[in-house]
């Protein structure tokens, strides 16, 4: 086992004061969401960079359960911060440009008011007299800090896990004070499973023989075993099964000889025992109970309707990030948030970042090249630093899951499709790739454009371009989108690669007043001849890229087939445009024979054209 195994994202600093922390005390009593009040509130925080004259370059970083205000190093000699990869000079959150504020949250034990603070009414630590606090209360304390710092509006608020709960609360409680929100690896409420783990952790603390009903501050021992047990449970939930296998699988029975009073038979045991023991040195059990209870009580609802109502209050732009292997805050929960935002026609981008690191992924460098750049791109665009479209070359358009163009010349159909989009229309582009069509539609005059794309790199590019894009698999449906939500839905050269053709078309027609579908025509004379005369599956270096055995194109159909389909399904066809892309010409004579590409404008029967 290497020392690496025992590195923790929580560096142990209990003995050392937080060197760069400042604190501000607010004498006015603070009423609490669930009743009661705190007679005064102290907020401990650190800042990085400088607030500009317009006070419009401030970014709030919200920490999670066991974090603190020390989000990043202040200089090379400083202690490591818990998010050094993200925050610093030249980093995605660039402290040369932005003024970064990171407060210790209310209820914490690293300088802000918490159960270990002195209750001014009694002159003793609150202990279990500390009232039940909520995430809203934490945000209220942060609001006071913002006022104190003269920040009327955050350029961005972001945080992972419980930091994401604060981010969402900021955006929905103070809509005019948040320009962009980045909730990461978070949820609208905990899963029952995650909540259950918290309950067991609190039970371990509460029933520890040294808990003394929370008044243990003047005792020789606190509920150290209970807190360590809670932390061990937490650590398991932060890691993915794959990450645990990688860390502990090979050296299963070779524990490190750490000085702990917990079981050391297995390597994973020595790791957990070490983490639990160390945590006790720097964290207060009452704070742990107060903060996890606030997290467990955070509940924006479970139904799409409730969530949509909650998020209707927000006005900001959103970047929502989750991680594929996170089972504590599973990606479905981020998708629920995205769905609620989409239902509100909010400007939102979403990516479920591929990762093996579990919930911890948002603190680790492993996938940082992807999600770190998404955060950078999103914030840069908030700050009005949109890179010109010229930077992106459509010729290099990667096709990811939806390798649409089986024809040589690229996206000739874009121009025709952009012409077909009604003036000022809202546009949803399915299989949007790097955003070639979206950016053209936006440049024209569409006021709301959003893409759906599966490929992570393509999603990143869209975000960098300032385009809204939601990562999703078309075959899994367009559930997040409401009926008739868009003026125009586009599916360009993707249908032939789709499994659930009926489902995707039905969903398009549900979501869009008008739909534009382009597809290669397998009735094209060259293709027919290949089968008829040569007895071979249609392919050609000139016209078709793929072999029959590896083509992403799995649906073979002609213009006539699609016409039949529309008739059978009672779909209204507004326009049919047939193109010979080799000749760059529109085809009017026998298009099913003479066109290699078709564009259909369709709608549900009865929709206005």
């Amino acid at each position: 086992m290497t020392d690496k195994l025992f590195d923790s994202t929580d560096s142990v600093r209990s003995a050392k004061p937080l060197r760069h922390a400042q604190s501000v005390s607010f004498g006015a009593p603070m009423a609490l969401e669930l009743g009661g009040s705190l007679p005064s509130v102290t907020v401990c925080y650190e800042t990085y960079g400088r607030l500009n004259a317009a006070a419009d370059n401030a970014i709030l970083v919200c920490h999670a359960l066991s974090g603190d205000s020390h989000v990043a190093k202040h200089d090379e000699n400083d202690d490591p911060g818990w998010w050094d990869i993200l925050v610093g000079p030249g980093k995605p959150i660039d402290t040369d440009r932005f003024f970064v504020v990171c407060p210790n949250l209310l209820g914490g034990c690293r300088g802000s008011t918490g159960p270990g603070s002195i209750n001014p009414d009694t002159g003793k630590p609150y202990g279990r007299d500390f009232p039940i606090i909520t995430v809203s209360d934490m945000v209220e304390a942060e609001r006071r800090l913002a006022d104190h710092l003269g920040i009327g509006r955050w350029l961005a608020v972001l945080g992972g896990s419980m930091g994401g709960h604060q981010t969402i609360t900021w955006a929905t409680h103070y809509p005019d004070r948040v320009c962009g929100a980045i909730p990461i690896a978070t949820s609208a409420r905990l899963t029952s499973q995650a909540l259950a783990f918290d309950v067991v952790g609190r039970n371990a603390i509460r029933r520890d023989a040294h808990f003394h009903s929370g008044q243990y501050y003047d005792k020789p021992h606190g509920p150290d075993v209970g807190l360590a047990i809670a932390r061990m449970i937490g650590h398991i939930t932060y890691l993915s099964p794959a990450a645990m296998k990688q860390k502990f699988g090979a050296n299963r029975l070779q524990p490190r000889d750490v000085a702990i009073e917990f079981e050391k038979t297995f390597s994973v045991g020595s790791y957990l025992g070490y983490q639990g023991s160390k945590f006790v040195e720097r964290f207060d059990a009452n704070s742990y109970m107060a903060i996890t209870m606030a997290m467990d009580l955070f509940d924006l609802g479970d139904s799409p309707e409730t969530l949509a109502a909650t998020f209707s209050r927000a006005r900001c732009r959103w970047l929502v990030l989750s991680f594929t292997s996170d089972w504590l805050f599973p990606p479905e929960q981020s998708r629920d948030i995205v769905n609620a935002l989409i239902a509100n026609k909010a400007a939102v981008s979403y990516c479920n970042v591929r990762s093996d690191c579990g919930h911890d992924a948002f603190l680790l460098p492993n996938e940082f090249a992807s999600y770190g750049e998404m955060i950078r791109g999103f914030i840069n665009n908030l700050a009005g630093c949109v890179r010109p479209n010229g930077d992106f070359d459509d010729a290099d358009e990667p096709r990811g899951h939806s390798p649409t163009s089986i024809f040589h010349q690229r996206r000739l159909d874009y121009e025709r499709i952009v012409e077909l989009i009604p003036s000022g229309a809202s546009v949803l582009d399915l299989g949007s790739g790097r955003g070639g069509l979206l950016s053209r539609a936006k440049q024209k005059d569409s006021h709301r454009v959003i893409g759906v794309e599966l490929d992570e790199q393509a999603v990143l590019t869209c975000i960098q371009r300032g385009l809204d894009v939601v990562q999703a698999d078309l075959n899994k449906g367009l559930r997040p989108f409401a009926d008739q939500q868009f003026d125009c839905v586009v599916l360009s050269q993707t249908l032939q690669a789709v499994h659930d053709v009926e489902g995707v078309i039905a969903d398009m027609l549900r979501v869009g007043r008008l739909c534009i579908v382009s597809f290669p025509n397998f009735g094209f004379h060259k293709l027919r001849r290949m089968l008829a005369d040569e007895g071979r599956s249609p392919k050609s270096t000139g016209v078709l890229h793929h072999e029959w055995y590896n083509t992403p194109n799995i649906r073979f159909f002609t213009i006539a087939d699609f016409d039949d389909f529309c008739r059978q399904k009672n779909i209204r066809v507004h326009r049919r445009i047939a193109l010979d892309t080799e000749a760059s010409a529109e085809v009017f004579e026998d298009p099913n024979l003479n066109a290699d590409l078709a564009i259909f404008v369709i709608s549900r029967s009865g929709n206005a054209g």
Copy 2:
């Protein structure tokens, strides 16, 4: 919240003796796997049904961590057993026919020798002096019981979770004493994650202020809180996230008012607190530690090679079952076992039963219609009760994931394929459906036939027919099968529905000395004409079932295309048979035009024909 929520598979019986339990004491000392010995061993057990004169109808049921000998009711007035759905008159394990034995395991606290038993050397309970025991030691105690009962060979040994560990140990340690083994929801060793949860549970017990180094039997309090915490953690891991959501999602903040000293804020909290509190009444903390440690130490290795070596000792037939939502013993771990068995050319069937119930699924009725019948079918075949093949009608062959036959008449190709299989050959059938081809091959003269199939119902039918079948997705590869493991691999009318054509063909050729591939020929004149003359994707009620937009057939290729493919990939073609299935005739003239079905016999270049 309903009372239902608080039903547990562990019925609380601590106050009542196990009415029907018998016990036998073995005076001879038992040497233990990790050193030391027990001066004597008592095994408590229950039996159901009657041992026949030949003593060949005995079935051993091994319980899991917290179970006991009371696997089922003995009569209608008896207490519920923990596996009543499976064991009883007319049940899948039919006590009218079989003699069922269920012992309490060594280390337990329900009658068999464990840490709470009196140490004959001291006259006091063992407590922490109880030596470290392993699953092998448990099986050794069960072996003594088998000898005592006059059972030379079990017809079947089965068990879920840790009961599966015992099952595997029986089959590999006493190969001549097990006819069939059914390990369920189990593994060759725990995941690091599962092991970590056990460690935390033991830490909670060990560091409980009332643990007294394990010598708490004469104290007013034992480590009740620690044991309850361990049990709460366990309960979370037994449930799937979906099951927890279903149980606790809607009534999140409506806990039941149970008399517990644990947190009751949330419904899931009252559930866990109740389960933890009840567990303490019927289970001994030292037993919990001893048994979980035995489970954690169970380790047949992690590499395919080690596992293959371990399983090479077994001689029995196998039915391996896992559950899709089981994250404590994830299905991959059962697949590792299956892979090791396949590598040893063992007779094995496997199904990953679709379930939302998590690890608990094996004790619940939800999916019992599927896996219960698999167990019944497997045991019936062990007992020589193979249903005649006539019971199964190939005309009803369901095609599940591989809806192969796009042509009307069914499986005409079976007869030709069976003719092509070399005499006495071992056969692997990919996409085997309900086993139509397998049973024909077996009837002919193949000594080893095994199917690969995705559809759960089709897998069940194969098991009922006494055919070996492994549930797997062809597109995910044939990794479990070794190079050139089979004389003959068959892929009949499935290739056109396969995504990864190159991968599947390459894997077939790797695994089989000779491969037989049948597929519909899209060069058939009728199909060509549809595209060429009518300009439509080939389909017809008479010949093709599906529409272009919903056909499972996603690869369009002709005999000529497949010939080209073989040439390009350097695949040796031994025979080409072309059929006109409508005319039921072989086609010799221009098969690419005149045949609707082709059968290719191929091998890696260089293989013997």
